[in-house]
Symmetry: C2
DNA sequence: TGCAGCATACCGACCGGTTGGTATGTTTGG
DNA sequence: CCAAACATACCAACCGGTCGGTATGCTGCA
């Protein structure tokens, strides 16, 4: 396989398309899907309406592409995360929650998940968007499954790793909603803290003293 | 205080207003806030636009009123729930999760939470809606706080009851997102199962055998 | 080398329909 | 009789999407 044949496999995407996707991530997470007009997206990306409909057949297709783009970017971040270097499966699982905790920023719109936002608006009206969002959430969860399976097996627990992996995503989504409602990331931080504590109790990790008792320190 | 003075405190709302609020609960949860037009709401409620703007100054005010209406209805359901009769605080907490589990139906739009749906769309653009949603979620959480505080104290755990109560709401919100994305309530059921298991582990309730071990039954 | 032939990328005016909201009646219960 | 509770008609702005056209660059043939 030559360098040229590789270049054909990954054609450089058009700049307008990329700018529209990047802008969509921002605007849809902040204002929602329906409230973000095609004109808004074009203005943000600095392209015209003609360019928009050249690259995307409809606003709905843009949303599907944005969901897939978000999923792909999340996968890249995940693969480069430092916690993957930890040796113990249970430690890696807790490391993942810490990793997500680190990514929480004061600007909730920037740190929340596009897929959760999108699917709440479109699940009943657009099967294509719903499926793209579910695929993204499932893919994110699937990254945890092997470690969860190993850690559960090591403790002899008869729990479904897939269901537990999805549960971590549910808590994340719920934490984002809490942060948006409170206009403060603190409740989200605490919620992820409870997720960590649950996983610690379940998988038998003592790290970070998951549960403190009254008067326990001076005994 | 006489019966008449009570009647003044809670004046009988106009039928059109009530029908609009009931329809808003349904349509907004299914299609989202932005995608639900004023005309849609009027058609669903069987009233005209004039009636709509007679009762609500704007679409945004309708949303705030719908959030408050939902919160009030949730409080009524909660107060009548059977689990409140349980004597042990920890049992009541688990009973609450079971109560929410029972309310999950195949039609996600009917059983999900309006507040979570609304706040995701409006948190950045409408402070009034955001605050109404946060007030509703906080109120729902506050119903659990005394029992959580008592159960945590009984176990000598130094955890914030308020934060834990909000966490239960976060898991619920996340479970709804999962159900919408999967077009299936099963992942939501499992997620609430994990919430129950966490609370069981934390509060020391052995009910429903929260954690099963391989081969543990024949020892 | 040069040029016809064609595909891709992009532009911006324009379209019919819908939006939230208003102005002005008409009905109705106390 | 009067105010609250509606209904009807209407508006300007905006919506997603279309369309005819252009600029640019690649391809193949003489």
């Amino acid at each position: 396989m030559t360098a040229e044949s590789l270049r054909i496999e990954i054609p450089p995407p058009a700049p307008a398309r990329q700018k529209l996707l990047a802008g969509a991530l921002m605007l849809i997470r902040r204002d929602g899907y329906s409230a973000t007009s095609v004109d808004d997206l074009c203005r943000e990306a600095g392209v015209t309406k003609g360019a928009f409909f050249h690259h995307f057949a409809s606003k709905e297709r843009l949303a599907v592409a944005a969901a897939e783009h978000f999923t792909a970017m999340a996968a890249i971040w995940f693969e480069a995360a430092p916690f993957l270097k930890l040796s113990d499966p249970a430690e890696r699982v807790l490391g993942y929650v810490d990793f997500r905790l680190d990514r929480l920023s004061a600007d909730v719109a920037q740190s929340s998940c596009l897929l959760g936002t999108l699917v709440q608006e479109a699940y009943a009206t657009s099967p294509a968007i719903r499926e793209a969002c579910f695929a993204g959430i499932s893919r994110q969860a699937s990254g945890l499954e092997p470690d969860l399976a190993a850690a559960l097996a090591a403790r002899g627990l008869d729990l479904d790793p897939h269901g537990l992996a999805l549960h971590t995503q549910a808590v994340l989504q719920g934490a984002f909603i809490l942060a948006k409602a409170a206009a403060d990331i603190q409740p989200a931080v605490e919620s992820l803290g409870h997720l960590k504590r649950y996983l610690s109790l379940l998988l038998g990790v003592e790290r970070d003293a998951p549960v403190e008792r009254h008067g326990g320190s001076d005994v």
